[in-house]
């Protein structure tokens, strides 16, 4: 025989040998997979484009240094404000700084009202030129400040809030608005508010240089976008159907779980955040199967068999191990509720989430009760239902709009994720560690 031991004609015949199978059903499956693949690709593109847009907007937004440069003339305000801040903790010992900070955002509306009144007064041409008027105004402020029951709405026109040393009211209204809260005003109004709230927020908006001291507070931001990735480990329990006690199935070995997702968070109250988004999750698993067969030694070429495998009875026991890599891909829509606690730059937000699974795809092999190895796809539901997660998001705020976070979570899965074909009810719980980035977009 030529051609490397096989006849050329026979070789051609072997290479072009055709085997029949159900082509139509396979073509249908291929078309379905192509469709699913295109949807998945679109989702990935969507996430990718969103991330790129997000990154782009992040980098083109003005940095703090730019703002600082624009407001360099306010450095005196900054210095005096710092003095005030330093004195604040000493003089107002009845309130801890933390308490004041917690009540900070409550004053936003009041401040806005004051500001409106001030602007209205300025536009009417009010000018506190008289020293007597100024004294009168100061006494009013002090009176208000020392009376806890006084409401800010009691401040009536003409009001002292344009009280300032170098305030040029005759210049245009816009420039006045920018200087509306000078340090002294800030100090005075703060005194008024010190018994019910702390008034730095709007001042901070007008004087961004002070943001360095206030950057931990996102009190103005209402909507956040948070892309994240995660890694975890799943714990599965198998219970024979119609029974209650789980059994050990050690041949299923759980491997890593990983996730990627993006979420929009809405601050509906000062400390309550509701969020939702989309999440892709993949559980990896290894199925080990063992089979053993006993064969007559005569079936084999003796040269091929190491002596240690041959039994005394002349029979050979063959042990075969197969390892199958399985994976479960899930597409989830999480709905989360967080309670935001703040500790300066480091924030903590305990959260509870409901996870709606919209799709599950099991790929790999499974083993039934009789030991048969079967394709696992038909044995798992295409949607697993609702799961619940508890977690705590630790975030580090590095400027007024951006923060990074680590979010350890525990997921309690639905009781059974399998179809009727599966002889075992299967529950999957999960420990997941997400890391991500949060950006205030509004």
């Amino acid at each position: 025989m030529g051609l490397n031991n096989l006849d050329k004609g026979k070789l051609n015949e072997l290479q072009n040998f055709q085997m029949d199978f159900d082509q139509d059903s396979m073509w249908k499956e291929i078309e379905e997979r192509k469709k699913k693949r295109s949807i998945f690709t679109m989702i990935l593109w969507g996430i990718g484009v969103s991330l790129m847009l997000f990154t782009f907007t992040y980098f083109i937004s003005p940095s703090n240094s730019t703002i600082k440069k624009e407001n360099a003339s306010n450095i005196n305000d900054y210095v005096e404000a710092r003095k005030y801040e330093d004195s604040y903790t000493e003089t107002d010992s009845n309130f801890s700084k933390k308490e004041v900070e917690n009540s900070l955002s409550n004053s936003v509306d009041d401040i806005n009202n004051i500001q409106k009144t001030i602007i209205a007064n300025i536009s009417k041409g009010f000018h506190p030129s008289s020293k007597e008027k100024q004294k009168q105004i100061e006494s009013q402020i002090n009176k208000i400040a020392t009376n806890p029951s006084t409401k800010l709405s009691h401040i009536k026109s003409p009001q002292p809030v344009v009280y300032g040393e170098n305030l040029n009211i005759k210049s245009n209204i816009k420039s006045v608005k920018d200087k509306i809260f000078t340090t002294n005003q800030y100090s005075q109004i703060s005194k008024i508010h010190s018994r019910e709230s702390f008034v730095k927020l709007d001042f901070d908006r007008k004087h961004p240089i002070l943001k360095t001291n206030l950057k931990t507070f996102h009190t103005k931001s209402k909507i956040f976008v948070s892309p994240s990735i995660g890694i975890g480990y799943s714990f599965q329990s198998f219970t024979p159907k119609n029974e209650k006690t789980p059994v050990n199935r050690n041949n299923f070995r759980q491997l890593e779980t990983w996730s990627a997702g993006i979420q929009l968070d809405f601050k509906i109250k000062n400390q309550i955040i509701v969020g939702s988004g989309i999440e892709f999750l993949q559980h990896n698993e290894q199925l080990n199967t063992y089979t053993s067969e006993t064969n007559n030694i005569a079936s084999f070429n003796p040269d091929e068999i190491p002596s240690e495998y041959i039994g005394l009875d002349g029979f050979l026991t063959i042990r075969a191990t197969n390892k199958f890599q399985n994976n479960y891909r899930l597409l989830n829509v999480p709905l989360s509720f967080s309670w935001l606690l703040r500790y300066k730059k480091l924030n903590l937000a305990p959260s509870a989430s409901i996870i709606f699974n919209i799709n599950q795809k099991a790929k790999g092999k499974t083993q039934d009760k009789s030991g048969l190895i079967l394709n696992s796809t038909p044995f798992y539901n295409t949607t697993t239902g609702i799961a619940y997660r508890l977690g705590s998001k630790f975030s580090f705020t590095f400027n007024s709009k951006n923060s990074i976070f680590v979010n350890p979570q525990i997921e309690f899965g639905p009781n059974d994720i399998t179809t009727n074909l599966n002889s075992f009810a299967q529950q999957r719980n999960l420990v997941l560690l997400n890391i991500g980035f949060s950006r205030a977009i509004k």
């Binding site: 025989m1 051609l3 490397n4 031991n5 096989l6 006849d7 050329k8 026979k10 070789l11 051609n12 015949e13 072997l14 290479q15 072009n16 040998f17 055709q18 085997m19 029949d20 199978f21 082509q23 396979m26 073509w27 499956e29 291929i30 078309e31 997979r33 192509k34 693949r37 067969e293 064969n295 007559n296 005569a298 079936s299 084999f300 070429n301 040269d303 091929e304 068999i305 495998y309 050979l316 063959i318 042990r319 075969a320 191990t321 197969n322 390892k323 199958f324 890599q325 394709n375």
Partner: protein
């Protein structure tokens, strides 16, 4: 590789040119035509490697998904369409064998040797494929790659990440096993 003459016949057919152009544009009709034309041959190839109908179908499906996805990479000037597709199928089959990580030391053979001697020349193709499929996985893989596809031992060693001398050794053992089991005749140059 052997059998190139036969493979080239496919390329010269005008139908193929239309299919190639259609597949490059991702037209479903052309993809279907490509599938119907080559699926039986590719399925037989997958079966030769995997010796299992279910696995062969899985791999064939994966291979066609890959073929359609990367069809833009196919360059008709560098090789034939069938050759390119065969290569993808073989790679996918080897990947499947690797994924399963079957390290079956000895696989079950029929309990008794064949009573009648078989001649390679007279064997039906189905029988030959069954005989090859009955070999343990490593033996079957090396035999297919070397004898049927025509890869050198060095190429096989690179693909399977083994030493070249191991490839030779496995092939020799595969041949011995077949000769002993099936009493193959007309195989003087095998051993």
């Amino acid at each position: 590789m052997h059998g190139e003459e036969l493979i080239h016949i496919y390329l010269h057919k005008p139908n193929d040119i239309g299919i190639i152009k259609g597949c490059q544009k991702k037209e479903p009709a052309s993809q279907n035509a490509l599938f119907k034309k080559y699926a039986p041959v590719l399925y037989a190839t997958c079966y030769r490697y995997l010796a299992n109908e279910a696995d062969a179908k899985d791999v064939l499906q994966d291979s066609f998904i890959r073929i359609f996805k990367y069809f833009k990479n196919f360059n008709p000037e560098k090789g034939t369409l069938k050759n390119w597709m065969l290569r993808i199928c073989i790679n996918e089959s080897l990947k499947m064998l690797n994924t399963k990580k079957s390290f079956i030391v000895f696989e079950k053979l029929p309990s008794e040797p064949c009573e009648q001697a078989l001649s390679l020349d007279n064997l039906m193709m189905e029988d030959l494929i069954q005989i090859i499929s009955s070999l343990p996985t490593p033996y079957r893989t090396v035999l297919n790659l070397n004898l049927v596809e025509g890869f050198s031992h060095q190429e096989i060693a690179n693909q399977l990440r083994i030493e070249a001398f191991n490839s030779r050794k496995i092939l020799s053992r595969a041949k011995k096993m077949l000769i002993k089991k099936y009493k193959l005749v007309n195989t003087e140059t095998w051993v």
